[in-house]
């Protein structure tokens, strides 16, 4: 080993090698004090926090600690109330809520699954349900349902079906949502336009929906799309926000045009490159690049919440939003606004109909207590709290009224959502490996919405990559 230092430092030592000059000691002192202080602080905090660790555990006095994981901060407020109620009724059970934002929720959950350490009860979503259930991470609730005689008929039948796999139920429905149009009443009034009920859209000419959107789109010189001198680069107000999103966007249009996304639940063939689906996609993309009633995809790609923020800022007259967004929009908007059904396509009005359940971790250490919590969250008492707080539509059909009443008090008629739920609906596409497929579709569609790839070509590419992802997932990859 070579030992050459490349050159000797010019500042040679001014003091002897073993001498502890007062200068060196005093210059260390403040640092030393800080270090000692920190160590003391660290030790005290470690001792304090040492107990609060790990997932579920049994505290003293036979109190069982359950962890409950969710992602929505708005709904968390309502759930805190509901769970406070639950804990009063079950003094031997303590529930800790863990909130993680959507983006990181699934990463964290899956890491916890890998380590065998997942929360006892957690929010489950259709996109991940197939994987979880196939890999036996979810507790089968069918026998418990029978045993405790839970009335499954009180829930929307579609929801129960969505969460059934191989005739076993893996979650009790707790809410549902559809997609509807939110419109800015102030803008409509100012421009003397009637509220957007009974709109239609057609792939050929856009229907009354497009006409309305064009009237609502105004550039900085107060011109509309189609007027001479309309400047698409300086639009002050958009008629509608079309963006690269499935559930709140193109799935609805595809269904309304008679197309399908996936051949069947747990299927392996995506179908949105068929003519009817492509027409719907083309319509959605044209709203941006051809008709200029929607902002460029450079604003909306990979950025969730842009549509809502444009709406809340008064820059978009209409947006398509899921019913779970109502409380957030309401908090951030300071103008009167209303809800209308989606414009009707050739199949009429159709919306994606989806719902969440709470799943019980198959390896939970407290199955009995977890089931109590599950039953509570699916009960009419808990769902009444969530509905009457205006957070989500309760999955129990009789409780829908509480949600409607909450919003009526704020002068907003949300019945459009309900009408859609009771009409023709389309479910979330579910299949193994859906997550990976949807990310690949999303990437290609980002470019499609930017106008960089033609729609049919993008759809073909997306279908091919999505099918590959789904097939490799099924083969156990």
């Amino acid at each position: 080993m070579k030992h050459n230092t490349w050159y000797r430092p010019l500042r040679t030592m001014s003091r002897g090698p073993l001498s502890n000059g007062p200068r060196s000691q005093s210059s260390w002192r403040p640092l030393g004090l800080i270090a000692v202080g920190l160590v003391v602080m660290m030790m005290s905090m470690t001792l304090a926090a040492c107990g609060g660790g790990g997932s579920s555990s049994s505290g003293g006095n036979g109190v069982v600690n359950l962890t409950y994981a969710l992602w929505d901060q708005n709904e968390e407020v309502g759930y805190k109330q509901s769970i406070a109620q639950f804990m009063k009724l079950h003094p031997n059970i303590h529930v800790t809520i863990q909130q993680t934002p959507w983006d990181q929720y699934w990463q964290k959950l899956n890491t916890e699954f890998a380590a065998g350490n997942a929360p006892d009860v957690f929010w489950d979503h259709q996109a991940y349900f197939p994987q979880f259930v196939q890999q036996q991470q979810l507790m089968n609730l069918s026998s418990l349902i029978q045993q405790d005689k839970v009335d499954m008929s009180q829930y929307y039948p579609t929801l129960v079906k969505e969460w059934t796999y191989n005739n076993n139920v893996y979650g009790l429905p707790k809410d549902w949502d559809t997609i509807a149009i939110l419109y800015n009443k102030q803008i409509f009034q100012k421009m003397g336009l009637a509220s957007p009920t009974s709109l239609t859209w057609k792939p050929t000419d856009g229907g009354t929906f497009l006409q309305l959107a064009q009237k609502l789109t105004v550039d900085q010189n107060s011109k509309h799309p189609g007027d001479a001198g309309f400047d698409a680069k300086h639009i002050n107000q958009y008629g509608f926000v079309s963006e690269n999103t499935g559930q709140e966007g193109y799935w609805n249009f595809i269904a309304m045009n008679g197309g399908t996304i996936l051949d069947k639940p747990f299927g392996q063939n995506f179908q949105f490159n068929q003519p009817q689906s492509v027409q719907a996609l083309q319509f959605d993309v044209d709203l941006i690049n051809k008709y200029h009633v929607s902002p460029s995809a450079t604003e909306t790609n990979n950025n969730s919440g842009v549509a809502e923020q444009l709406f809340e800022g008064g820059h978009a007259a209409m947006i398509a939003a899921g019913s779970w967004e109502l409380s957030a929009v309401s908090q951030q908007s300071n103008f009167p606004w209303g809800v209308a059904q989606l414009p009707a396509g050739s199949e009429g009005v159709m919306s994606v109909f989806n719902g969440l359940t709470d799943a019980i971790y198959a390896k939970t250490q407290h199955p009995k207590e977890a089931w109590e919590l599950e039953k509570w969250l699916a009960s009419s008492e808990s769902q009444h709290i969530m509905g009457s707080g205006g957070y989500v539509w309760p999955a129990i059909q009789n409780e829908d009224q509480s949600f409607v009443e909450f919003w009526q008090k704020k002068n907003i008629d949300v019945s459009a959502y309900l009408k859609e739920a009771q009409g023709k609906t389309v479910t979330f596409p579910i299949t193994l490996g859906y997550n990976e497929a949807s990310i690949k579709i999303n990437d290609i569609f980002n470019q499609m919405y930017l106008g960089q790839i033609p729609v049919q070509q993008a759809a073909n590419q997306a279908v091919q990559q999505a099918n590959e992802a789904v097939q490799s997932a099924s083969s156990g990859s």
């Binding site: 920190l38 926090a49 040492c50 790990g54 993680t100 809340e312 800022g313 820059h315």
Partner: protein
């Protein structure tokens, strides 16, 4: 080299004062050029912060109605107030402070010892082991996360302070690299003299190495502290509850699928930045004066 030095001194004395005055005047235009370049650099460096600051001082409804760099119209500190009162940001600051401090102390202690071992002690496989450590820097943190998490789970350390700091508290290969290079530049004569006097390794470290290393340790301390402060993925995965949440995770939580609360996020970012700036101001002269890279190979 000393010959050159003597000659230089001789020549300097010969030409005298006239040269010095001339050189000073010559310096002014070059200073002007330097200043202009530096000013441009500062503007580029700070402009994004300026935008973030403007956003943090705006009420929520102004975020979209104006461009990000425009001045806030009613200037409001409400965002800062909200961040501190409605969200437990003060707690997050304490947690992050504790986390970074533990990491820094651990790094200073353990990396110093290890670096000294690699620089001065002889044991079989020393250099191979050192290069192996360096090699671990080449594996992205993303993949080591999962095995680490499983390890923690096995010992029931998830969502605990111990679990949070364990991967970093024993120092990092980067720190060892930096310190080792520095130690190798310290003349061996000092240590050899000490050994002849009968000093053991620990005594040598305490009396010779540490006093000389104060500047490099300040540098390493700041680097480690800032890295700990901005660490995101690991605390996200390992901590579940608010009583362990750190700043980065807290800031990320302002992003939801309804759209990010930009004003709160930017206010929180500045709150997170504050302590770092203070620390850097305190230590900056030592750091710059000191990164004695003599002996880097």
């Amino acid at each position: 080299m000393s010959l050159v030095k003597t000659e230089l001194v001789a020549r300097k004395e010969a030409t005298g004062e006239k040269q010095t005055r001339k050189r000073l005047l010559q310096r002014v235009p070059s200073y002007m050029i330097s200043y202009s370049i530096l000013e441009i650099g500062v503007v580029i460096s700070l402009f994004p912060y300026f935008m973030a600051l403007m956003t943090s001082l705006k009420p929520p409804d102004q975020i979209f109605s104006s461009s990000a760099w425009s001045l806030p119209h009613p200037l409001t500190l409400q965002n800062y107030v909200n961040v501190v009162t409605q969200y437990s940001f003060v707690d997050y600051i304490w947690h992050t402070l504790l986390f970074s401090s533990i990491l820094t102390i651990g790094q200073l202690i353990f990396s110093t010892f290890a670096a000294y071992a690699f620089a001065r002690l002889e044991f079989p496989g020393r250099d191979q082991l050192f290069w192996l450590y360096l090699a671990t820097l080449m594996v992205p943190q993303v993949v080591t996360l999962i095995p680490l998490f499983i390890l923690l789970r096995t010992f029931n350390l998830v969502n605990t302070w111990t679990g949070l700091v364990i991967p970093f508290v024993l120092g990092t290969p980067y720190g060892i690299f930096l310190m080792r290079q520095f130690f190798r530049s310290i003349p061996r004569d000092l240590e050899q003299a000490a050994r002849i006097d009968g000093a053991g390794t620990l005594q040598i470290m305490r009396d010779i190495i540490l006093p000389l290393s104060r500047p490099i340790m300040s540098t390493l301390a700041i680097i480690t502290f800032v890295q700990g402060w901005n660490n995101f993925l690991w605390p996200l995965i390992v901590t579940d509850t608010d009583d362990l949440r750190v700043l980065t995770v807290g800031i990320a939580a302002f992003q939801s699928n309804y759209g990010t609360q930009w004003n709160l996020m930017m206010a929180a970012t500045f709150i997170a930045l504050g302590p770092l700036l203070v620390l850097f101001f305190l230590f900056q002269r030592q750091i710059v004066r000191s990164i004695h890279l003599s002996g880097f190979k």
